[in-house]
Point group: C2
Chain length 573, copies 2
């Protein structure tokens, strides 16, 4: 019933798109900015999307440009799993129906928690209810950068300070000395003494507690060697709300464009869709380790301009998600120069700044790069996003993070502050954790050694896991995998046989989703199809995290290899 | 420089509004839905707003309907305080300027943290730098429901559980027995055992950890005597993001209307503005203790319809903010009937459900009321918002809360889930706290007595403070104050003398903002002008919280009384 309804709606939208007005240019399927050139349009207006999968493999991202909620269709074809609570829609009050809700909501997609993950949760319940019902006994979530869900332990010092700030009345008790390190107790006092009334249960300043912003700014200054101003810091519930806040500010209509890497982390496409803007894609070059070419930025910017789009901003994710590359400083300088020349706000997603696994690369913040070129506040508008969810600590559940906002005039800053104030403030534990991440124990502190061991243990293990999985993918027939220089992901390319592509087409499913679904059903391993991130037409990828615990990696590699061999045998051309 | 720019922009907008197209109807000042009737329009198109203050005292809310960022102007007139970082805007990159940003952002206002509070923060810095520089030695923030910022202590049991969940490795240690209650240790184990891998540092399910939603649902069922489904619960970072999520779903354009009480909590006007919808005001009747009349709802609904607005939803805040009334059950039944008949989504802001201070009233959830009328999932779409920030616990800084979503079809629910998943999940500490608030210690638990004492101590003190402040306001010349039946606020009406209104007009400031500003400058007491919430034209109010600690109340009353007498003497007609 529901599927029929969605299909009906999709049909109507295809029809109506042909009469869309010029101002809706970027919401009509025939006019989305195309991945390569105008000759390479994604969805042929006269055909339903499913029929054009093989010609236009980028279609999911382009369907994203339409009023069209079909990620489930796309992953599952005609037979989506239904949740136990699914009932006929017609029996509900019709105050809210799919055709009455905000089309921007319908348009938004977020593959990292999309249909494959829903199917995985479904399988997990089945395994629990009927052990042995599937050829695996656990689901391995490699879909999302969520290290602690896979057994990574939190950094002790951080958790000590959080616990003490949550329950300050134990700070004076003698038993506390036996349970907590001396420097965690001292740090908790320092923090509490600077929060008015020691009230960790009070709303803070809308940008976050001042002393915690001071700590974050000091951490940035120490990292970069250039000053940072606590008034530029907005502490946020993870990086996602900060990204939304900036998109909300920058996007007025579909005439406002944001240059985003392809492949990209789908928060960006989702946020741009929710705010009604246009995603202007620029392609990372897989052949050069997902290199970011300024010539490609220029080309896409010009292309967007020619379509009446004003590009407001450039998103750069460094280290890359899902692509794992770490930008060279020289490349960053060229990007800064481009933004300055083209008058773009540089939105720098730097949440993986601690996650670099190779000797010959290191992280440089865009602010440091810009300042080193002599560009200050008056020269470039730059926002850096950071999160406590990533790094070596991986404190995803704490929802802490910040954005550092530089190069904006006071009247615009006032508007950002106002929007932050509507939600009052981010959670104080997350704020405290953001300050700890940017100002961890130092040499000489009681916790330094254990902190340092925990951190290095996690990072070196991640580096080994990345290498092992990268090698495993590269050893598979028809698979080429990038080097995981940083971040938490591999994004291997799967050269699928025509027979597999045809089978996917028959199932009205994208080929990479078809592969991912089969992988899940055979092994319990959850990955995200490349289409959720965007990819060059004609190529198919999956995103796989490097996060399962190290002792599980060999078994994962075996399962993956066995599955892939069987899959290729089944579909060999 | 900046002020000049804003004024210039405002002038342009006035001009352009006269040529606005029909689709922009609700964004043009001449066509905002008016508080009483069409004959009572707020901003005369031919005059600048400031000149029409006295004729149209509702103007701030109506200015809200315009592309116009002037809350500071409105509070401060021509001489706003400038922050120390204020610089000439022209020296910044012009990639983002006020006239390039999203007009919906400019349009949004949030008075609770608006210009008066910025001035208060300014004064606080001056007092710190130069003690004795003002006729008071501290700022008393009565602008915001933030109890712990004013010295209220957190509930011990809640903080014990949070600390243990933050640092589970102490759970096994012997010292922990001496520091924490047995039932807090047990509760922490219970929670951790049901979080996969005991990982409080992992992203949860996008709706929140299942066992915590189970606890919330059980708490709702116990409260109402009707079942609640954990799959209906979305745990959120406080109630504000939940309200935004629903507005985002319901609002496609300015043709979508949301019925909101006037006076209202400005989160609603801000969220509607940010999502580009139309606020359709309905007036609470001050004469009957801020009564909510269904006849008024009908009238405003019809009025909106006649203007081409489709009303999608009704917001009810119970207990009321800023108005403090508690709805009678019979009244609630009539509201439910109205929503069912008119096919509206009932958005029930029930964050003050624990804050009822009078013997003859009690809180009934709208879900309970609807179910008691025999209306189930298929009859009415209903969302209830709850927050850990309010109640007796007042844990604002923890950013916990939930919405219970009932009466929506599975395909629409899928869309809500998708939007929740883009931000991954709310913070786990807030999630845990939401479960504790809805499932506190029970008779027989070790903590029950202390928990109960702390809770009752806070609630009975709040009741005494509410009564003392209510009486104090009512004893002032020209002031009438509602009974504080619930919530955390008084909303007294100030009958200002004509001379004061003229002085405000001369300062290009709204009369209630003029009064609030003078009160702040004379006493350090921060209240919010009624215009920030909306009020019947020709009436002036302030919102004052009942939250300063009890021992400070007499001094506050004295300062308030002295100020008011001097003010009235100065401006006596």
């Amino acid at each position: 019933m529901m599927r029929r309804f969605v299909a009906e709606r999709a049909r109507k939208l295809f029809i109506s798109s042909s009469s869309s007005s010029p101002s809706r240019y970027f919401n009509s399927s025939s006019s989305c900015i195309t991945p390569q050139s105008n000759s390479n349009r994604i969805i042929n207006q006269s055909k339903p999307a499913a029929a054009s999968i093989t010609q236009n493999p980028f279609f999911f991202l382009n369907r994203n440009c339409r009023y069209y909620s079909t990620y489930s269709d796309y992953i599952f074809g005609k037979n989506p799993p239904t949740s136990s609570t699914t009932m006929s829609s017609s029996s509900y009050p019709d105050s809210v129906t799919i055709d009455k809700i905000n089309p921007k909501v319908l348009q938004c997609e977020y593959a990292v928690r999309g249909a494959i993950v829903i199917q995985a949760q479904h399988l997990q319940e089945e395994i629990k209810a009927n052990p042995g019902s599937h050829p695996f006994d656990e689901i391995l979530y490699c879909n999302i950068g969520n290290p602690q869900s896979l057994g990574q332990q939190p950094i002790t010092f951080f958790r000590e300070v959080l616990a003490l700030c949550d329950h300050p009345s134990i700070l004076d008790k003698s038993e506390t000395q036996g349970l907590f390190s001396a420097d965690s107790i001292e740090r908790a006092w320092q923090i509490l003494d600077q929060i008015p009334g020691r009230a960790t249960g009070a709303y803070s300043h809308s940008q976050g507690v001042k002393c915690l912003r001071d700590a974050v700014a000091a951490g940035i200054a120490a990292r970069d060697g250039y000053p940072a101003d606590p008034n530029d810091i907005f502490l946020t519930d993870g990086a996602s709300p900060a990204v939304h806040m900036m998109m909300q500010l920058l996007i007025s209509s579909e005439k406002d464009g944001v240059l985003c890497p392809i492949p990209q982390y789908p928060l960006y496409s989702a946020s741009i869709a929710l705010h009604g803007g246009s995603l202007v894609p620029y392609y990372l070059d897989e052949a050069t380790g997902w290199g970011l070419e300024v010539s490609e930025l220029k080309k896409q910017l010009e292309d967007a301009k020619s379509k009446g789009i004003t590009v407001r901003s450039l998103v750069v994710i460094n280290p890359g998600n899902p692509t794992g590359q770490v930008l060279a400083e020289e490349n960053q300088r060229a990007i800064v120069e481009f933004c300055k020349k083209e008058n773009l706000v540089l939105l720098a997603d730097e949440v993986y700044q601690e996650n670099v696994y190779v000797e010959d690369k290191s992280f440089h913040s865009f602010k440091k790069v810009a300042r080193s070129m002599g560009y200050g506040e008056k020269d470039i508008s730059l926002v850096s996003f950071q999160s406590v969810s990533k790094g070596y600590h991986g404190e995803c559940g704490k929802r802490g993070g910040y954005m550092e906002v530089t190069g904006f005039s006071p009247d615009v800053r006032e508007q950002i502050y106002k929007v932050a104030s509507v939600n009052l403030c981010s959670n104080i534990s997350g704020q405290i954790l953001a300050s700890l991440v940017m100002n961890p124990p130092k040499v000489g502190d009681e916790s330094y050694e254990s902190y340092s061991d925990e951190k290095n243990g996690i990072l070196s293990s991640l580096a080994r896991r990345a290498k092992a999985l990268e090698d495993a993918f590269n050893s598979l027939e028809g698979v080429t995998c990038n080097k995981a220089e940083g971040a938490m992901y591999l994004f291997p390319r799967i050269h699928l046989p025509q027979k597999a592509i045809k089978a996917a087409e028959a199932a009205k499913t994208a080929p990479d989703a078809f592969y991912a679904k089969r992988l899940l059903e055979a092994t319990g391993i959850v990955v995200v199809p490349g289409s959720g991130f965007g990819q060059v037409p004609g190529t198919w990828h999956i995103r796989c995290t490097i996060l399962p615990q190290e002792e599980k990696i060999p078994a994962i590699i075996t399962r993956l290899t066995d599955f892939h061999q069987a899959f290729m045998a089944e579909y060999h051309d």
